[in-house]
Symmetry: C2
Subunit: 353 residues, 2 copies
């Protein structure tokens, strides 16, 4: 399997090393062949190549079976114009690869629950999968520009029917493998695109009689994620709403540093990255939490390569390591032992079956 | 003072009665003249007049010094086409009156804190004012329609420079009367409108040297509202982000039923409504919480009429009533006494100085 690794900026480089080491251990245990090709993206690419997404990176990713991404961005590049910033590399590679579905699982990890901002009984047992449309809507619609004649500015929320249909299909298909409920989030009382979205959900739902579905306005969803997160199974929504709600949901369980995300298309190719950012403030100190990145790698094994057993093994090793009380400084485990990035990685590898 | 009252739907009618009674008591105590003109809006207007916002309502509101609104909407009208729904009345009156600034204070009420979904120490002492742009952006931008030739749909996020400037001014001016900090929320790494927004904030901030300002991406804001609500003083943001974030924030303190909102323009005319909805499930039962509506009325006294003392008196009476342990069923006060809408109103009036 050909894997492109894009460490990116800040702690991206450190945590990517961890993920590659875990994958190498898995390859040995299971007799797989993984080849890794490292490429530039984000600020690192701007520094070396004057572009957040060099052609060489795009070409390598297009030939790969899957892509691992660390994190992009940092203050150093914040004053660059919009289209030359590190984030543009991330948006660009999603679009170039046609990765229209972003999957973000949020699951309460029992050893970390006390670090949740919510009362534990509210969040304990919650297990949400947010499916966000990733290549349409306000992110890419045109026009997106200043209008000097009107002294105004415009961005455009544009969706084709097909773009909506394929993400809704993804949501229903995924719900079938889980608790069989889909919550579709929109703003149908204001947006025409949401009204079309809602119609398509209704239409599609007929093909999935075993999956129940309900509609929720985005403002209500933002409330209910906090007041009753357990009510959700799969949440599906458009790009911008998904950006906001998935970040909101990511802090509920007290373990942001551990959350993976997968951006996929229909043929199995995907890009896997942790939910957290490049954390420039702790970069280079060897204390970054590698678990979000390692869990992203295990998600790659499961979703792009169909390697269920291998993924289970990594996830079990992480669970064991946390239960043994080991954690990086960002996590809080009562009476636990604080370790750095490398030591954490060693411990996880040591706990592989 | 001419006040138009728009009870609207569901519990709107019941809680509006409470607010009018409290205002009448205040008028007596302070020797004011308030005249009330009741008009139709929302579902009630659709039922009687085939329109969610009849011309008579618009005319009456345009002549008024302030408008009180209960709540609009309900399942009964959910299957109507988008432009004939109750919410259209609300959007329409905001636009007709040019109410470009929506102010939503979120303050922890000590007797209710244990009902917060957050750990009490996180939320205790928080005091946030969200200022949402209310008449621009995705809500009103054109085109907003299906595009049959492309099998697609479009909504438009449009802002003029002037629209952004006046809401940013409102935020800085309001911050001066509070803790002198503004957090401007945008998505400048993706939206051109956000980049213009950020430039205007930077430019405007020069005129308010005593107010500090920081920028936050909307996804980060959605996280930080939960993990550290106390860091915020005034938050200012565009219409759709404001809709989502203000509803998210409204559940933090465990007292959604008590939150007022004010929609104002520069000359002091405003529309005041509670944050909660029309709650059709409890309508007509006499158990609705009138405090959000009563606090909206006190906000009207303060902001549209400059009646600070009168507003203080209402707010103190409510605080006293809660401290005496009285609450409607939606609130939870340990060892408190549950009362209905009318009894709650009597108690508040009894506690006026
Ligand atoms: C960096 C930014 C452009 C990106 C997005 O908004 O999609 C990020 O917030 C994310 O969610 O992956
Ligand atoms: C009813 C709806 C159109 C409205 C809005 O989105 O503005 C409501 O959610 C609000 O926040 O007042």
């Amino acid at each position: 399997k050909q894997i492109v690794v894009l460490p990116g900026d800040g702690i991206g480089k450190e945590i990517m090393k961890s993920a590659v080491r875990v994958l190498q251990a898995i390859a040995e245990n299971f007799n797989h062949q993984f080849t890794f090709s490292e490429q530039l993206i984000g600020g690192a690419a701007i520094d070396q190549d004057q572009s957040p997404l060099p052609q060489a990176t795009i070409q390598a990713c297009k030939k790969a079976d899957a892509v691992l991404l660390g994190a992009v961005g940092g203050e150093k590049w914040d004053s660059l114009p919009g289209d030359q910033r590190p984030e543009k590399g991330l948006l660009g590679i999603r679009k170039e690869l046609g990765l229209f579905a972003n999957l973000r699982p949020i699951k309460a990890f029992s050893p970390l629950l006390h670090a949740s901002p919510l009362k534990e009984e509210l969040v304990n047992g919650s297990d949400i999968l947010i499916i966000r449309e990733l290549t349409g809507g306000l992110y890419f619609g045109e026009p997106k520009k200043r209008i000097p004649e009107e002294n105004a500015v415009v961005d455009t929320l544009y969706y084709t029917q097909e773009e909506i249909e394929r993400i809704i299909d993804k949501a229903f298909q995924t719900a079938k493998t889980r608790r069989k409920h889909v919550t579709s989030v929109d703003k149908a009382n204001v947006l025409e695109s949401s009204r079309m979205w809602r119609e398509i959900v209704e239409e599609k739902s007929k093909a999935y009689p075993d999956v129940t579905v309900n509609h929720l306005l985005v403002d209500a969803a933002a409330m209910k994620l906090i007041t009753n997160p357990k009510q959700f199974d799969v949440i599906v929504t458009e790009n911008m709403f998904g950006d906001i709600l998935s970040d909101e949901a990511s802090v509920l369980t007290g373990s942001l540093g551990m959350l993976p995300s997968a951006s996929v298309r229909t043929d199995g190719v995907g890009l896997y990255e942790p939910v957290h950012g490049s954390a420039p403030d702790i970069a280079g100190k060897g204390i970054a939490n590698p678990l979000g990145m390692i869990l992203s790698a295990s998600s790659m094994l499961r979703q792009s390569f169909g390697m269920e057993q291998e993924a289970d093994e990594i996830e079990n090793a992480i669970q064991t390591t946390l239960e043994q009380g080991y954690h990086t400084p960002d996590l809080m485990i009562k009476n636990g032992t604080v370790v750095g990035t490398e030591e954490m990685t060693d411990l996880v590898i040591g706990n592989l079956a």
